[in-house]
Symmetry: C2
Subunit: 485 residues, 2 copies
């Protein structure tokens, strides 16, 4: 932060004094003259310092008395706006998202000081030591593992372990049904290719993970965005309306738990209705369940797949977010498309490397996995709290933020009109990476949102970055108002 202009450095200095209680609520801020004297700065710098803290809500100016410490505004920790249901659904469109976001993704691949764009936890949250020693012992157990032909059809131990763990989500399946993939993204590709073709319409949540929109685009499919609530997930009513309006929907893709980016959780009743609706309409339902193990509490939420009695639900998941972001172990339960997905996986990428499969299997079957999950969930809960607090403290008035019941992200609605693209650019200048809302939809409905990662421990550096980000948003929000005015 040494590159900050002098007035901002001084503003930070006094902000620290306020936050640690050296300057209390109602205290008078040193006068401008005193500030000039003490810090050897110009009048303009001293004034900028005070105005900065005023803008951020830490000081209030009283006529002829100077600046006083005030109770800062706090951002309302309430969900981002509920979508309007019942209005006409946007027409399905060929996804043009890649062009829209490829530059953002490319820029995001730079090394930055603070990466808030991830959808995983930081490395410290995952059992790297245990996975490392399992890797070494697996190689000892199977000395030729790297050089012998990979066991066809996926590693048996892993398939059995995943089938066993799926019980926790209410899914009753067998090892034979499990198809191992390169992460959840390959699972989604296979699922979509199994049930639909180029030109077909796929119903998705809105906002939805840009990765899904990219997959649709790469497959030449059209996305139909269905309003989705930050608290209860996709609107089953809106989906039903869409199915009445469009007769060419070939699949529905849903993240029922800790939806990305909203963090919403579908109530069980909604899940049942959704499964029944899709079955009745004969439209395959693709469930992306990558996050459910990160939900607060000890009970893993029940998968849509539990209510599936006809094989109409294709279940996709991975260990990427919950066990090891460096490992590409995903899987799929393909219901009545089992044979076709098996064929596609074989033609697509053959089988996954066996080393990480066996390591994952061994860990999943151990009690260390349960301990890991408990620790992971409680660390994430603390970190989410801290990040929400930072947003409440530093982000400008008019910001809204959803507190999801688990997971690694917060979905932040900035004051109306604030451009997430402009915030992205300005933050990147300061070596802070955020995930702008415009990536999560083909509409411009989420252009003033950000997805903020909370997978990292809340350190002083992170606090500095959040404060700086708050200022950037403040700046963008007020310049927007300026233009509007």
């Amino acid at each position: 932060m040494q590159n900050l202009p002098l007035y901002k450095q001084l503003a930070d200095h006094y902000l620290n004094a306020i936050r640690c209680g050296t300057l209390k609520l109602g205290d008078r801020m040193p006068s401008v003259r005193k500030l000039m004297h003490v810090h050897g700065v110009s009048l303009s710098t001293a004034l900028q310092l005070c105005r900065q803290l005023e803008t951020e809500g830490w000081l209030e100016a009283r006529p002829r008395s100077g600046y006083f410490v005030r109770q800062p505004r706090r951002v309302r920790l309430i969900p981002a706006q509920e979508p309007t249901i019942g209005k006409i659904i946007d027409p399905a469109q060929f996804v043009g998202i890649h062009e829209k976001v490829s530059e953002i993704i490319a820029q995001g691949q730079r090394q930055v000081k603070c990466n808030l764009a991830r959808a995983t936890g930081g490395p410290a949250l995952y059992p790297h030591q245990q996975l490392r020693s399992l890797t070494v012992s697996t190689l000892r157990r199977y000395p030729e593992l790297l050089t012998k032909t990979i066991t066809p059809g996926g590693n048996r131990e892993l398939k059995a372990a995943l089938a066993k763990r799926a019980l926790d989500s209410g899914i009753s399946t067998s090892a034979d049904q499990v198809i191992i993939t390169n992460g959840c993204i390959e699972a989604l590709n296979l699922a979509l290719r199994a049930v639909a073709q180029a030109g077909d319409v796929i119903a998705v949540e809105s906002p939805t993970f840009y990765g899904l929109l990219q997959v649709l685009e790469s497959l030449g499919m059209k996305a139909l965005e269905i309003p989705t609530s930050p608290s209860t997930g996709i609107s089953v009513e809106a989906l039903e309306l869409a199915m009445r309006t469009y007769d060419n929907i070939k699949a529905v893709v849903v993240v029922p738990h800790l939806q990305n980016p909203l963090g919403s959780m579908m109530p069980d009743q909604h899940k049942q209705k959704l499964v029944a609706l899709c079955e009745k309409q004969g439209i395959p339902l693709i469930e992306d369940d990558s996050y459910s193990a990160l939900a607060d509490g000890d009970k893993i939420p029940t998968a849509l797949k539990q209510w599936d009695h006809s094989g109409n639900v294709i279940y996709c998941a991975s260990v990427h977010k919950i066990l090891a972001p460096g490992m590409r172990v995903g899987w799929i339960l393909a219901g009545r498309w089992q044979e076709r997905v098996n064929m596609l996986k074989y033609a697509h990428t053959r089988y996954n490397e066996e080393l990480s499969q066996i390591v994952t299997a061994t860990f999943l079957l151990s009690s260390a996995y349960d301990r890991h999950l408990r620790k992971l969930r409680s660390s994430l809960a603390v970190q989410r709290e801290k990040m929400a607090e930072a947003i409440a403290t530093y982000f400008p008035e008019g910001t809204r933020v959803t507190m999801p019941a688990g997971g690694v992200s917060l979905w932040v609605e900035m004051p109306a009109g604030t451009s997430s693209r402009a915030v992205f650019d300005a933050a990147l200048e300061e070596s802070i990476l955020v995930s702008p809302g415009l990536m999560y939809s083909n509409s411009n409905r989420f252009d003033h949102f950000l997805r903020i990662n909370c997978g990292m421990p809340y350190t002083q550096d992170l606090d500095d970055a959040m404060r700086l980000l708050g200022r950037i948003i403040q700046h963008q929000a007020s310049s927007k108002q300026h233009i509007a005015a």
Copy 2:
């Protein structure tokens, strides 16, 4: 082999005596009466024994004198037949290969005593100890490798190492141009998806690797099979003719070196003509160069890509066959489709796991890699020789076999009319897995061929299996003649 009928066990006993010189050329075989007495077997068993060895060509019956050891027939070690060029090319067809071979692939996933269906060497041919210790040291060097987010865009060290090694194939490229994939099969998928769509016609070699036909089928593309010579590879003349006949060919896929299954090597002049033809016609040329490092001699053959001046050649390869069948490290140089392939790879499977990328990079950059290749090539040369010898010795008259200048497979033409499917079934009964010719084409042109792996050291067990396989083919070939007569 304890399960063999008694007469076959005894036939093996006498065959050994013949092969080690105890019974010499022209020697009289013990009489049937003596065989009955010595082995305590029935007349019928003794007769069956002699007839078996007669059928296999080791004995000849002389009227009223009994059986005598004869010079066995030897299979001609000449290439399988050259294709007929100039005739009308088969119409392009939607590949129906998966249905045709899925059952064969599924059956081939059983544990067998002798697997001759692989297209890789046995594990002993690859540096498993070195790769293992590199894995362990890599984890020591990057303790959080399994749990931190994967470096975007593929591991830099590996991309640099591959660019450097590509120089040996005459390719001048940079690390930036290298896109890492899950094996060569993902590279082929991405290349095809970059340049063509469902319904498009793709020109392929005939015979060609069934994996490629499956990829085309899974993408809804049509295969146009171009006659391909067992010695010089795809016929550029036939391809030119096809391009005149069909105006909708969207890509050409070629394995210029050690073609799978033929083992053919394109002469440099053909390669240049092919590159120029495709460029002139504006048809993308996809090169699968998975095997070239297995070619005899110290010079790696020059890739098609070397003659590519317009970015019209997409180069695909992997370390699967040459370094580690258990690792899924492939790569692609996508020419003028670089950006599109990058996007497709990201949407397809994100990035490969980093552990095997770093291990591969480290090994490729060491001199151990050159030593490994030299050893691998010379082991394969010995093993190919032994297998060809076994085929010459045990397979029935009328068999032809190509001796490729490198690689892990022999392409065997059985006597006309012999069904490779029947041989596959009968061999599997004996726990021997072969790769039937019918998998390598949509036509029935190769139904009497087998691809035989020669990646394993030639042991007594393997010799037993080859002898048994020879008998099976003999049986199928003569039963076919029987039906024909």
